[in-house]
Subunit: 711 residues, 2 copies
């Protein structure tokens, strides 16, 4: 990013990389101010610093003024280190509203540490609204409230109270965290593992500046190779999508630790920063679509971001690992298989080449046990990785070897050989510790001298990170996702037949239906269709037909059709008296296929979301569905179908016809388009079942539900 070109400056640069700063509430007795001063000094800030303290003319050995409006110089950003009750006044003073305007321009970037705003509810909400109004009216960018501020190690400036910790050289990861204490834990862990942070930014309540804004900002900074995010809830889904897509286009990975997968967590989060955690399964679908790598621990956040920053994208999912411990190979093999990290067996050519290096053929498994042979001939540490990294199935090479913590006189050559090997392979490569252990200065220097940015600590962390690495790599080339806005909104279908007809307009194959208004018409329709038929009640006022006796299946012959029609009318009259009955739909039965469920629902944050799964009673009980954001591509849908536990039902299981996945995906894409075309009032559109037999795909039943007018 061109920091020296004023015109190219990102709108958040004056907030996150300010050239002049003020600390409001600067007093030695103020715990937060003390931490802020330590951070400013620790980071080596060399620009203008103004201390503001209404009660004393000096603090921390420097002079202080009483108010921001007394500062006679340009100040780009100020840290408001004052109690909740004083925040609004301090913010007005800093922004120089009419009451205090002493110089032309006030401070346009503020960081508010104090809590007691929206996150506590009640009056806090009102107070935050006043702060938001100030931000809006005066064009002031605000970080927080209820946030511990930031530290920018590239620009050597910090405005915040995250406890200072010495950085490692050459940071590669930017961290954005809703919680300052989590940010502290993340950087403590990262630095212990030899990983530095370009930026550490706590966002708190995200009243104005959000995580999405910061991702957008950080994406443009060259030194940032990965963005790690701790999220409680996403405030602005559209901006979040745009920022994530920008990062994806620039091959900058986003790794997210988002809480809220457990229902109970939502209550804690609401109390913490007032975040609405949202539907967690939908966030998984968001990550899937945007290539965000989701993790569930602080360690996973650091190790995954650092691993991806170190390797860049990989071309294939296959991983190989060499170790001189058979036990380590076995543990890695099991762990990888359980977590979806592929250790493909080597190709014949690879095995033939290996045979020239290792005499015992039995040892040519992947992961590869070099055995004691590597003690007797240390060159195996170079020759073997070179061979296996060229295997056509391999995208990443791991060398299990503990990063040294002190000079190891016993095997300096081996260490040097391994270090050189990882630099010169046909695939990205990493040294992996056998177990978790810190990387100290000696280890960092060893890695750095061999061009390695990072060594994942231990097999488990390494393989978890590698799984994320491939997840991210495999999503880089997908087309960009954009929230879809239909060009014109179609009229609401009034009943099932109209819903099927609407689907048909969008190219969804739909079962042929006929409307019958009495038993004779039903008989005639059934004869015309031929074979067994289904009768389904037609009424825009009854959503769940089967619950009122409005469905009869497998009817063959005039008598069966007529008596089913009459029984249905009696049942419905009893169970849904007063409902307007438009007749029945007569449609052919379908057999010898699989029934899928395609359910589209509106998520309050992320818009229309589609669930696809196997239909039917049993599988419904197992909740075996996959979620996608809409619009979804055919590829998304095929991937979703393949991810189902019951996928083998579609794959020619027990003599069933193998489903034509492209035809299914095409139908689902069209169902999604049909749903989007129904506009923002559509709450849900369900096709259940979507019948599939080979390439015969057909919607047999459909239901549309609208806000405020549910049948």
């Amino acid at each position: 990013m061109a920091h020296d070109l004023e015109t190219a400056r990102h709108r958040l640069d004056p907030l996150i990389a300010p050239r002049s700063v003020a600390l409001v509430g600067a007093s030695e007795r103020n715990h937060f101010a003390g931490l802020a001063m330590r951070a400013l000094r620790g980071v080596g800030y060399a620009g203008p610093l103004h201390l503001v303290n209404p009660k004393a003319a000096a603090a921390f050995g420097l002079g202080a003024v009483a108010r921001c409006s007394d500062i006679d110089a340009e100040v780009e950003a100020a840290y408001l280190c004052v109690p909740q009750g004083a925040v609004l006044d301090a913010a007005h003073d800093a922004a120089h509203d009419a009451a205090h305007d002493a110089i032309d321009a006030g401070i346009r970037n503020l960081i508010v540490v104090s809590g007691g705003f929206a996150e506590v509810g009640g009056e806090g909400v009102a107070l935050e609204a006043q702060l938001a109004a100030l931000s809006r009216d005066r064009g002031v960018r605000m970080l927080g409230p209820n946030c511990l501020g930031f530290r920018n190690n590239l620009a050597s400036v910090a405005l915040g109270s995250i406890p200072f910790i010495e950085q490692t050289p050459r940071p590669t990861i930017a961290l954005v965290a809703a919680s300052g204490s989590v940010a502290s834990s993340v950087i403590n862990y990262g630095i212990q593992q030899g990983i530095g942070f370009t930026h550490v930014i706590a966002t708190g309540n995200e009243m104005d500046v959000t995580i999405a804004d910061l991702i957008d900002y950080l994406t443009e900074i060259d030194e940032v190779l990965a963005i790690a995010v701790f999220i409680e809830g996403v405030k602005d889904p559209e901006r979040f999508i745009a920022a994530a897509e920008k990062a994806r286009a620039m091959h900058k990975p986003i790794v997210a630790l988002k809480v809220g997968s457990a229902a109970a967590t939502a209550a804690v989060a609401a109390a913490h920063t007032g975040a609405m955690v949202g539907d967690d399964c939908v966030f998984d679908a968001v990550c899937d679509r945007l290539g965000i790598v989701r993790v569930d621990t602080i360690e996973g956040l650091v190790n995954t971001a650092a691993t991806i920053a170190a390797t860049g994208p990989i071309a294939r999912p296959g991983v190989t690992l060499v170790s001189m411990s058979g036990g380590v190979c076995e543990i890695a093999s099991d762990y990888g298989a359980a977590r979806g990290v592929a250790f493909p067996q080597f190709a014949e050519d690879t095995r033939a080449e290996l045979a020239g290096q290792i005499s015992v053929l039995g040892q040519m498994h992947n992961p590869l046990d070099l055995t004691g042979a590597a003690v007797r001939d240390e060159h195996l540490w170079a020759t073997v990785p070179e061979i296996i990294a060229r295997d056509p199935a391999i995208g990443l090479t791991l060398i299990a070897w503990n990063v040294p913590q002190v000079a190891e006189p016993s095997m300096p050559n081996t260490l040097d050989l391994i270090g050189k090997t990882v630099q010169n392979l046909a695939t990205p490569a990493l040294i992996v510790n056998n177990v978790e252990q810190p990387v100290n200065e000696y280890g960092r220097a060893y890695l750095a001298s061999h061009g390695q940015l990072f060594s994942p600590p231990g097999l488990a962390h390494a393989l978890d990170a590698v799984r994320g690495l491939w997840w991210w790599s495999s999503r880089l080339d997908r087309p960009a996702f954009a929230v879809s806005v239909p060009s014109d909104i179609k009229a609401r279908p009034a009943n099932e037949r109209e819903t099927l007809s609407h689907l048909s307009d969008y190219g969804v194959p739909v079962v042929p239906t006929r409307v019958a208004r009495n038993a004779d018409e039903a008989i005639a329709a059934a004869r015309e269709i031929g074979g067994p038929v289904a009768l389904k009640l037609l009424s825009g006022q009854i959503a769940h037909k089967s619950e009122v006796g409005g469905v009869a299946l497998n009817l063959l012959g005039d008598q069966a059709v007529a008596s089913a029609y009459r029984a249905m009318m009696v049942a419905v009259a009893e169970r849904a008296p007063g409902a307007v009955i438009e007749g029945v739909l007569v449609s052919p039965m379908r057999a010898n296929g699989i029934e899928l469920l395609v359910g589209i629902a509106r998520d309050p944050q992320w818009g229309l979301v589609a669930a696809v799964g196997l239909g039917g009673f049993w599988v419904e009980a197992l909740a075996d569905t996959a979620l996608m954001l809409l619009p979804a591509t055919r590829e998304d849908i095929v991937t979703a179908l393949r991810s189902l536990r019951g996928f083998k039902m579609l794959d020619g299981y027990r003599g069933l016809p193998e489903a034509d996945l492209e035809a299914v995906a095409d139908a689902v894409v069209r169902i999604g388009d049909a749903a989007l075309a129904l506009g923002d009032d559509l709450a849900a559109l369900e096709v259940n079942p979507l019948f599939v037999a080979g390439s015969h795909v057909e919607a047999l039943d459909a239901l549309a539900v609208f806000d405020g007018n549910t049948p």
Copy 2:
């Protein structure tokens, strides 16, 4: 264990705690011997040490003799540090066979480091057989071959080449590992985390002394609070079961890292120590029954063993955690929910008590965020844990606080308060680091001075370990498991009817059946039964009736029964010509229930194993079954049923009758007993389906398969 009472000495004590030792192959040029000498000196061995070297009279600054038979003193154990080709001769010499017998008694305990035996196949197998014969004939206990020996930190003796590493004081965990290099990684990690090992024993090929023997031995040693095991395969299941049950009875946890869950791992393991890894799902069932805690990483092995050693059993699964970071509470809440660690919400009484301590009611969730209030009032670190640890749902209290690595002048009182708090709660309690970090000497001293043996590193490791802790605790009071040997073996049933009859003899409710030998008899039987019936071919020679057209369901009326009978005879004559047909079974159809599958099969290692699952086409495709060793208790079976993904089908889903789980469990127990009574030739006994509708439980179909005589 009474080390000073010769009579009470365990038979492995002279091997693992020898009072006099010899090192065979003692030469400075011998890498393994050098490591062994370093270990002996490092561990502070003070007993008699004899060096044996045929080529030199001195090594390591000590005198040496040419052969063991030249040693003129009692030697309890010897480490054979010689190449593969010299092992047999060295072993014979050590054991003083006829050719070398110089003194009365040879050395009766040997450790063999060299590989190249059974694990490489071919001639190695033959060589190992010779070694085994020596062991058997001369009553010599052998550890290995292909093993790095042991180190006994309690008895201050080591015979082996696991690289020496300084121990922590007060070790609590014994480690037994198939692989010496894995053992190295385990102790490196453990000592980094402040955990010491009483014993470290590598077992290699387990030709004589097995992991089971060592568990048996270690269980009797008072200082051993937990036994950590790295397993490739279990050599002697019966001894393993006995040792594990002994440990369970003595409340000594076994934590096992067993490889082999991935099919590919088996090949690596076979090449490594020649172990057959066995059916991994069955080993899960073994762990379940014996209360062994299974983990999948080296870190998990250490952290779980150390956590259980530190807390002992807990009375309830509920866990509470206090932190001053809302973010940490959220991460823990999510992680716990995903991994099966329960953070129950607090009882009303607990909340009322908390209200006296914390003003903001919103913060009373579990995990509990103390917020900045704990900075202003550090006594919350004592008062709050005291209250929540008394909650009736809580079995364990976790306090999230980083173990100090240096004296922290900023909050010495807080640290001291927390240290005192964990000692004095109503439940076991642990301090948990927010993230993984080593525990150095300062931290160990801090923990020790507050009676804490261990602090799990980071939330994820802590919660994984806590899950294992409850798994173990909840299995302590189960009745002992013993391999069942039936008092008399029943005759093999010849066909389905006899199999059902055998089941009925054991009290299994069985559907009433009638045999029909022609269409008229079938009609008569169907009339007698009333309602729709099933016809099933009766032939001891056809296992899969449906594949030859031998099943007809839902037959109502004379004509349907007769034509189904005739069609079946035609089909069977075509598809299974020559099979002896004994007739058909006529039985009533059952409806409006759930079909379970009970499949019993013989595992080559662990004997009869029962799988229970939901039956039927769809769920079979999802492979939703739970495995148990036989004999199983009713409680085992109910637990297994509850563990099914599709359990809600049994729990009154969608108007189906709620299954009487006790009645189902009773039937499964009886099916198991019936299987055991069929003796060792029974290969499999399958009841499919076991019909369940409320408390109506009935075997509808059964098949027994015997070795060497499969129909």
